[in-house]
């Protein structure tokens, strides 16, 4: 009787983590909340953390200085769920805002709190998530060199939410 009773606690101790694994699996498979921003955003992926300096904090315009010309700008398109490379001129035509009109937040440290690594491994690129109401949705940011063994650390630099596009000079003339 004593043995049967004590074995019950061993089974409970084993079942709890198994239940948690199943719970996590079901949560991630079946909970698909709709996180869809109607506004795209502008970002860069550099291994130098200097892209923020390219945005004028007062006018929200991108500078046309040499340093800012060398950076590759991407527009993240939520309809296609990919980032598309754009030119500096295209980026400068955009009317930007640092806050999303729909209340979304971009978190470039999501998944960091998880257990990947155990101190043995380091990611060379961040995971970027769209966050609202305590729900995270990973977005498809592609970094130039994310192969195993790469030692270059890339950063995700959020420039701004694209609120509108300014009419280009040529369109203005028309």
């Amino acid at each position: 009787m004593q043995n049967k009773h004590s074995h019950t606690f061993l089974y409970i101790a084993i079942i709890i983590p198994i239940f948690m694994i199943l719970f996590t699996l079901l949560c991630t498979l079946y909970s698909k909340p709709k996180l869809h921003s109607h506004y795209n955003f502008l970002y860069t992926t550099t291994y130098k953390n200097n892209a923020y300096a390219c945005l004028d904090s007062k006018t929200y315009d991108i500078h046309s200085e040499q340093d800012c010309k060398n950076i590759q700008y991407y527009e993240y398109d939520f309809t296609k769920n990919t980032g598309q490379l754009i030119t500096l001129e295209q980026a400068r035509q955009m009317k930007l805002s640092l806050t999303s009109p729909e209340g979304y937040i971009l978190d470039d440290h999501c998944y960091i709190s998880d257990f990947g690594g155990f101190g043995l491994y380091h990611r060379t690129y961040p995971n970027v998530c769209l966050v609202k109401d305590n729900i995270n949705m990973r977005i498809n940011i592609i970094f130039p060199n994310t192969v195993a063994g790469s030692n270059t650390y890339y950063t995700f630099n959020f420039i701004g939410w694209i609120i509108d596009r300014k009419p280009s000079n040529e369109e203005g003339k028309i």
């Binding site: 606690f9 101790a13 983590p17 948690m20 694994i21 998944y111 690594g117 949705m137």
Partner: protein
């Protein structure tokens, strides 16, 4: 006389374990410091090779029966070096696996080795490493699932740690019911389990440092009271101290609400309340510890348990 021999025995064991830890730190430092100077064979030989060698020596000493105690130190060294050796193997082979898959692979291999050893010849050191690698295996699976999903709640990592804590408590209780003297790590299981459970619950409920979830604001005080309540039947000082610490944190957390109600006067009220709470908690903890958890009382309860177990055995 027996007690002195037992004390010396424990002392030698501790010295052996410390020696193993030093060897592990030495090898790890050697590998990380000279990584670029070493060739692949040396890298693998000094980590995975050393782990296998330590395990083999441990088996030889274990089988000799004369030096069984020394074998624990070699098994410990093998357990510490095995993940490092497997990590080195993955680095050298440059397999393009994700971090989560690598973790799963390492923890699965380590778990298989120590679980098989435990099933073949039950020993405390095997059991300890089985629990450790099973925990890492569980966390690796959770991490793998979460990192392959597009949607997830960031609270999942807290819930999984809480589940692990609860599992440790049940495991501790299981060993406690079997034979508390045979398993010296029961207290550690209660401590880590209670810490995971209470810190997780507190971080979900706290308005000051956590997520301020309403349902957890009700569950957290229940868990704290449970920690106090369970400290006596489980004879666990860790539960008592953890209960006291988290009760203090919880009162700190809810007392911040006074500022909303009383304005600037709230600060002085908080200090008075915290002072009173600290004195009360300290008094209650000392009373419980002296009444129920002093060593004589624990010995009495253990003897009663042993007698009861012997009686049931004789009946059978």
């Amino acid at each position: 006389m027996n007690k002195t021999i037992e004390k010396n025995h424990h002392f030698v064991k501790i010295i052996n374990y410390i020696g193993s830890a030093f060897i592990f730190i030495g090898i790890s430092y050697f590998i990380f410091d000279n990584w670029n100077q070493l060739n692949n064979f040396t890298r693998l030989f000094s980590t995975l090779g050393a782990s296998i060698a330590a395990f083999m020596i441990g088996i030889c000493l274990h089988l000799s029966q004369k030096h069984e105690d020394a074998s624990s130190a070699f098994f410990m060294l093998a357990g510490l070096l095995l993940p490092l050796g497997l990590h080195t193997l993955l680095l050298i082979t440059n397999i393009p696996w994700s971090i989560e898959v690598k973790n799963l692979f390492i923890s699965a291999i380590c778990l298989s080795v120590f679980l098989a050893s435990q099933l073949y010849s039950a020993r405390t050191i095997f059991l300890l490493f089985t629990i450790l690698f099973a925990s890492l295996f569980y966390l690796s699976i959770i991490s793998l699932i979460v990192n392959h999903a597009s949607f997830y709640s960031p609270n999942i990592s807290i819930y999984s740690m809480m589940a692990l804590g609860l599992s440790y408590i049940f495991l501790g209780y299981y060993f406690d019911t079997l034979n508390p003297e045979k398993y010296p790590f029961i207290g550690a299981l209660y401590l880590i389990g209670g810490l995971f459970l209470l810190s997780g619950s507190f971080s979900l409920s706290s308005a000051l440092v956590g997520l301020s979830l309403q349902q957890w604001q009700i569950i957290t005080p229940i868990l704290i009271i449970l920690a106090f309540y369970l400290a006596v039947p489980l004879r666990s000082k860790s539960f008592l101290y953890l209960g006291a610490i988290f009760l203090f944190f919880y009162i700190c957390d809810i007392s911040t609400q006074f500022i909303k109600v009383f304005g600037d006067m709230g600060w002085s009220l908080i200090l008075i309340l915290l002072g009173l709470t600290l004195i009360t908690i300290g008094y209650v903890v000392i009373q419980i510890k002296n009444t129920y958890l002093n060593s004589n009382e624990i010995i009495k309860i253990s003897k009663k348990k042993k007698n009861a177990a012997n009686k049931t055995k004789n009946k059978h």
